[in-house]
């Protein structure tokens, strides 16, 4: 299962000559940090890192918030147009990105949002939302309404019911979807590449693409760079995993 990850990490520590060998070795003999230094000193690393963090932060926060509200409506309430809304959520996910590239660019160009991180954030939100709404709905349905009603009866206001009862119970769903949103925004290449132009607006995937030129790919530094880009995701996951886990045990299910 984890073999490709293992391979990526061990390759990142191999010196150049060892990487390209007709007898691939499972356990590296020599250990070298040269790939990492090459990766980190490659032009644009810090800027790309910063840009990606900004894009990801706004994408995740806004989409989770918006999706949370929407999924409550969809999971709990009846309203006219609900079926259509759900159908749209699903259909939007069937749109192939390559087909929408040019119209999207045209739209953002008219809105003066090309070559701006904000344009990228908006687009990512739009693409991530349907998925997050759909997934959170699934988790919400499993939470008995009686709990909410009990809370209301106890005198809580609606928002309090959500905050103290619903959200902690939705925690696992929130974790899965926010990690998903994070990864989407963190690793997405094509849209970012088309919508952004200036070098100082590049995100991490665009920076990563620079390891490939007409010669082919510079594997060592690319693996090192990829390992580095995978780290924030792991950090993010462990952060929210812990925070929410404590939330669950604290706001315990009272039966």
């Amino acid at each position: 299962m984890g073999f490709p990850v293992y391979w990526m990490i061990t390759t990142s520590f191999k010196p150049k000559e060892d990487i390209l060998s007709t007898t691939p070795t499972l356990i590296p003999h020599s250990f070298s940090l040269s790939n990492y230094t090459q990766a980190v000193t490659k032009e644009g690393f810090m800027q790309a890192l910063l840009n990606s963090l900004i894009v990801v932060f706004f994408t995740v926060v806004v989409s989770i918030f918006v999706a949370l509200f929407a999924s409550i409506a969809v999971a709990r309430m009846k309203f006219r147009g609900k079926q259509i809304y759900i159908a749209s959520i699903l259909i939007v996910q069937m749109l192939p990105l390559s087909a929408l590239l040019i119209p999207l660019y045209l739209l953002l160009s008219k809105l003066q949002l090309t070559d701006k991180l904000g344009g990228v954030v908006l687009t990512y939100i739009a693409f991530v939302l349907p998925f997050v709404i759909w997934t959170l709905r699934g988790f919400l349905i499993n939470i008995p309404v009686e709990l909410e009603e009990a809370g209301l009866v106890d005198g809580c206001t609606r928002p309090q019911v959500y905050r103290k009862i619903l959200f902690p119970l939705m925690a696992p769903g929130l974790v899965a979807t926010s990690v998903f949103a994070f990864i989407q925004a963190w690793n997405e290449f094509l849209l970012a590449y088309i919508l952004l132009s200036s070098q100082d607006k590049a995100t991490m995937p665009i920076w990563l693409a620079g390891f490939t030129n007409r010669f082919g790919t510079d594997w060592g530094p690319l693996m090192a760079a990829s390992t580095l880009t995978a780290l924030p995701v792991v950090i993010f996951f462990s952060l929210i995993q812990n925070k929410i886990a404590t939330g669950v045990t604290a706001g315990a299910v009272k039966g």
């Binding site: 150049k16 000559e17 390209l20 060998s21 007709t22 390559s98 590239l101 040019i102 660019y105 045209l106 160009s109 090309t114 094509l190 590449y193 088309i194 132009s197 200036s198 070098q199 693409a209 620079g210 490939t212 030129n213 007409r214 010669f215 082919g216």
Partner: protein
Amino acid sequence: MRTFRVKSLAALSVAALVGVAALSGSNAAQAENPKSITVWLMPDAKDFGTALADATTSFNRTYPNVKVNVEFQTWGDHLKKLDAALVAKKGPDVVEFGNTEVMKYSAAGALTDLSGFKARFGNSSKWLNALTEAGTYDGKLYAVPYYAGARAIMYRPSLFKAQGISVPKSYAEFLAAGKKLMAAYGTDKDFSAVYLPGKYWYAAMSFVYDEGGAIATKSGGKWVGSLTTDAAIRGLNRFKEVSDSLSRADKSGTEAAQWEVFNGGKVAMSYSNGWESCCIAKVGTDWAFFPMPSVKAGKASPAFLGGSNLAVPSYAPNAALGAAWIREFTSSAQMTTIAKSGAIPNNTKMLSLISGAAAPVAAAAKNSWFIPGAIKWVDVENANTLQTMLSDIATGKKTVAKAAADASDEITKLLN
């Protein structure tokens, strides 16, 4: 009418260029007062020493208030990005194209006609044929030659010395040398005297062109696949001969990263680009080049010339400045720097600047072949017609005659 619009757009942009150029001399910037120009290049430009920086410095001497924004693109997706910009009627001012992909854009009217300026681009009378052909459409110049990549045989001198082989000067000698190497080292399953993957059409078609054949020819305004001519069949037979007796490479594989295999030490010769020598550290300095010899003794076989051209899109906000920047970047001074960094410059005069081990590669650039100048050539590449034909031949799935006939028919169909 559409064609009228396209032609008039091209004409208008030429007029604009002429207008601004007429004013140009020392202070054209004042006339339009733009603040910056945008240049789209591939990351390869970073390998050319100071050429890029010097070009901009020189450009700024004539246009002091114009900032040059260089934005690096990726080979896989840059055309999508260009299309998006063209739809939005925005454009960069300069775009780098691969030489096999630019004709489509010239034919569609997406590029500014630079014919009027040809004389002002450095060394334009000595430009390499393949790059010039690629950048010309309907007799007009749309894309300026930038740099090229040629192929020659990269070999291991130590193995040659051990077997008492000298550099072959004809195809016959080449074949004999290969057979001798296979006899000596071929018991190792991984060893290839000549590493020739089945789908390596740049190499395989060289055999066809060496015999005087061609992939397609134009007759009576129509393009016709010409792989069934005697010359072409002879060439394809040679390809099969080398693949069968001298190569253990994947008969259905491509030449992608073939230097990795060379680096593994079990290859005596490979038909390689000049830059492939950069990455074979493991075999150390045991490598050198010689031009692939022709069937005609004492001559070299034509080799495929890859490379890039620079163009100014029709919607460029600052077409004149874009052209001026291209002139700076392809000037003799910058070309010299580019040549010194190992790439092949855009003209024959400077080929001699490439010295040492890479010199045979530069010599190969003088004698090259290029893809048929059909607008729809891209369709043939996308349909993988040549690759399929070659791998069918190499694996023995089809006879040479049948494979060539099928491919020719498909090419005729696709190009018209």
